[in-house]
Subunit: 308 residues, 2 copies
């Protein structure tokens, strides 16, 4: 029963200093503690698109629902503060499913000192839907936007790309700490996280910045998963194709002024590698240069929700 | 296509002073403008439970998705500031449906000067899900909680109850302005909005306040819809039964000290009537007294999501 579930969740989640009033009232009260305002992001995951419950551990689904949102805060260089969770659960087995989702979600919340401030738990005849909204705060430097890249800036990425479907799309670590550290130590002009695909998300960053981007394909860090997936599929797609198009890598793409980028790459301040994979240019659009320096258009590839 | 939809929405929604950064980045930036923190609430509506698309105008569904959340802010005596909207749309016809949902939602947002700061638009093979998260702010008096009722306080309600299924559950006006006005002019001890049913929500308020509530059934303001519904159904249920159990009235239940309640009721500062329908008592539980003053237990009735 719904009320039992809420009581149980309330006991389980307990108090948090950022949330003077949490689960159990009509709304929650969150202390953001930043004069610069409150960063807010929402991401909804749906059965059959973002996961298959028949194949996935529901704890991994709960973890992912939070992690994709944390990745959005990372892309803003924002510190997570609190979140709310809305669920549409199948009626049969909904209680056990909700528990398993929270089993996956809560340890990740703890890891980032994120308070779960409230939520809305529904049951229905449909498949599982989980929607997480996060609130965060940014430092005095303000949020890291998509629109700040300037021609000449280097394209710097964290980690490696491609083949996340082999498992990384569930167990990736959102780049929250990395983003906060980089934003503190270096001047970053712009940033985005790779959810839909390296090439499509890079194109979005460039477009928001009203400039273009030239990718150096030979420099793109390719995940082992991308190689494995290309080999498994045997459909002529290369590991690089997967790195550019697969998405759900949840790595960061950053725009960094060339000297600053040089310093970052030399210092390598993260456990994850930082790699320059191209540069922003005045001419709009997405481009690639081959080893011989020949420039050609590159079609942005990645996931887009079909709508008709 | 998703990106076209986002561009279109971005043009349509435009800038708002409370949202320095809105739709189009990884997250939005919201200026809450209240040192006391940020009130946050989320409510998800699902096809088949909260509405039937076959029978309902999707604009009414979009309006309701926002209105139920505004009602939660009203129940906290909080001023709406900004919101984010997450959608799971059926693939076929998703674009037209999304437009219609926003056609219903945006005028209501404007009416309360609420900024739509961002969202997440998904398509899938399932039915429509719409989840709205709102941020609000409270005045120096702080939020109106469920837990503040004291034995002796009067139970005061706005408006009338029952039969909302005949249409009011779509076109009700959330009691945002009423709550702000009452919180400013009177000392309110506690408050809740009636979403699941007058009796069940009253029982929740009493339970959070660690006291009981005695209802005066003869004093309950009964909506014309409740009478119409009782007559239509002809199943022996009375209009009062509907007033106590139907839910989705989205009226306020308030706990107010007796003298203050007297003043409120005499002044009737709202367009909607204010009515005293009982009092809070030390003994836990929900009770009713008949016209002869005999007290008996009253079973809380209303909607609860079934979970097994």
């Amino acid at each position: 029963m719904e009320s039992e579930w809420i009581s149980q969740l309330r006991r389980r989640i307990g108090p948090h200093p950022a949330v003077p009033l949490g689960i159990g009232d009509d709304a929650a009260l969150v202390q953001i503690g930043a004069a610069s305002g409150c960063v807010v992001t929402v991401d909804m995951l749906t059965e059959g698109v973002d996961f298959l419950l028949a194949a996935a551990d529901p704890r991994a689904v709960g973890r992912k629902a939070l992690a994709v949102n944390l990745s959005d805060l990372a892309a803003m260089a924002a510190q997570p503060v609190a979140g709310v969770v809305a669920l549409a659960l199948p009626r049969k087995g909904g209680m056990a499913l909700a528990e398993a989702l929270y089993d996956g979600l809560l340890p990740l919340a703890d890891r980032y000192d994120l308070a779960i401030a409230g939520g809305d738990t529904n049951t229905w005849e449909g498949p599982l839907v989980i929607s997480v909204t996060l609130l965060g705060k940014v430092g005095p430097g303000g949020p890291l936007l998509r629109g700040g890249a300037r021609p000449g800036d280097r394209i710097v990425v964290t980690g490696a790309f491609g083949g996340s479907i082999l498992g990384r799309h569930f167990d990736f670590e959102p780049r929250v700490r990395e983003a906060l550290l980089l934003a503190e130590r270096y001047r970053l002009h712009a940033g985005i996280d790779v959810s839909d695909g390296l090439s499509i998300d890079l194109a979005r960053l460039a477009s928001e910045s009203r400039c273009g981007a030239v990718l150096w394909p030979h420099a793109v860090p390719i995940a082992d998963d991308a190689r494995r997936l290309a080999a498994q599929l045997g459909d002529g797609s290369t590991a690089l194709d997967h790195a550019l198009a697969d998405g759900e890598d949840f790595e960061l793409i950053l725009a960094v002024e060339p000297h600053e980028a040089e310093r970052m790459l030399a210092e390598q301040p993260l456990t994850a590698p930082l790699t320059a994979i191209g540069e922003f240019v005045p001419e709009r659009g997405l481009w690639q240069v081959d080893a011989a320096g020949r420039k050609s258009p590159l079609a942005p590839q990645g996931y887009e929700h079909e709508m008709t």
